[in-house]
Symmetry: C2
Subunit: 241 residues, 2 copies
Amino acid sequence: MEETAETYDASRYERPSVTVDVVIFTVINGELHVLMVLRRRWPYEGYWAVPGGFINMDESLEQAARRELEEETGVRNIYLEQLYTFGSPQRDPRTRVISVAYIAIVRADVQELHVSDESSDVRWFPVRALPEKLAFDHEDIVSYALSRLRSKLEYTTLAFQLLPEVFSILELKHIYEQILGESLDKGNFYRKIKEAGILEETSMVREGRGRPTRLWRFKRDRGDKQFVFRWREDRLDDENG
Amino acid sequence: MEETAETYDASRYERPSVTVDVVIFTVINGELHVLMVLRRRWPYEGYWAVPGGFINMDESLEQAARRELEEETGVRNIYLEQLYTFGSPQRDPRTRVISVAYIAIVRADVQELHVSDESSDVRWFPVRALPEKLAFDHEDIVSYALSRLRSKLEYTTLAFQLLPEVFSILELKHIYEQILGESLDKGNFYRKIKEAGILEETSMVREGRGRPTRLWRFKRDRGDKQFVFRWREDRLDDENG
DNA sequence: TATACTTAGTGTGCAAATAACACTAAACAC
DNA sequence: GTGTTTAGTGTTATTTGCACACTAAGTATA
């Protein structure tokens, strides 16, 4: 019994729901934060959750993630990366729900948040002080996102997503320290970043107490090609396909 | 209008199908191979594809992957890792299908293959000589799997999954060379692997032409704790959650 | 106007890791 | 024996990582 486009019955299999959840990071006042929404409906009503929602049938997973991101923060064209797909059968009491999780990084200066109709509040939480209990398995999702963020940091230019157009080298170092959760040697950081040749000197300086600091910008190779700067001299890849 | 378990309508959203595809690697005669099945039905009838299938509603993604793996190779309890989720809307002509891809590694000595009813042939292909055109986006899936395999190799003990219980150090080196696609220095490899302290000497040797070789086994810390041996002294993590 | 203080940025040296390659070891064939 | 083959060890130059001491350039204040 051969199957063809004509005989194929699309409803033959029972289907799970698929959601996209986006763990959105930013740095506020030098501290790493995650965006959470307060759920307004059953299930997990009154619990904080990572923003997300069901995918539309005609959009790709990444498009769905960008849509969610934009709905909550109004941000477009931002760093976005698939994290992991969570699919244990009991993770959602409504029905079988499979969640494709993404990581996004937004600039500290973009912070107008929009409460969608699914939620009653939206808020940035410092990663060191997340709400007690999160909805679904979102605690797993956030903690995995954090560990991925840390390891990615070591071999991509991801940190630059968190900085304004121009910045000082010590500000960059501070971002690294925030995400890695450890302090780095000033001298070694200077040398490393200079040798990588990914920064472009500007004529600007910023005054404050003490010696004024030179400002730099991230050197974008003409086009959009992403640089690979590796913090600890490492390996490449692990990208998507 | 509050929603509760009683008022929730599970059929409200249109749902995609979800499949699990497993890229299964092995080494045969010192060469890295991937398992492919020949499709018997529309769509892509007569094309080679990575083994996979629809998930059941009551099994986790990993369980589904293990089920597929066992159906094709009869192997259980093997190294398995989630790779990436592929979800562009047009990747399957039947309907919207989202594929969660996994990587599996099986021993060279396990090689009884089972043709399932979905396929008319199952076969190992050397990664250097895959079939011309693969079904769906499976070419992307395989090539991404390969790049992940290479980068994982450098900081896990994954290579040991490809070897029998006892093996010589040069055999291990050969596996590394196969996967990395480059040749390594004998002396440096010996030193590195010895210093890592992850091998246990056996009293066995194997004779052949030339000097007989000592055989070793992978030292499993009591329990199941996975060692982390890093080939190029690197970073950790990127694990799942 | 000197000197203390603060933040920015550079230099130096040791220890560890990498990489290249020359060497010794133990078997067999003749 | 001597040559050949595969296994395994040693030696050394070079590069990288890392800790820490130093110099630079401004502001505050006595």
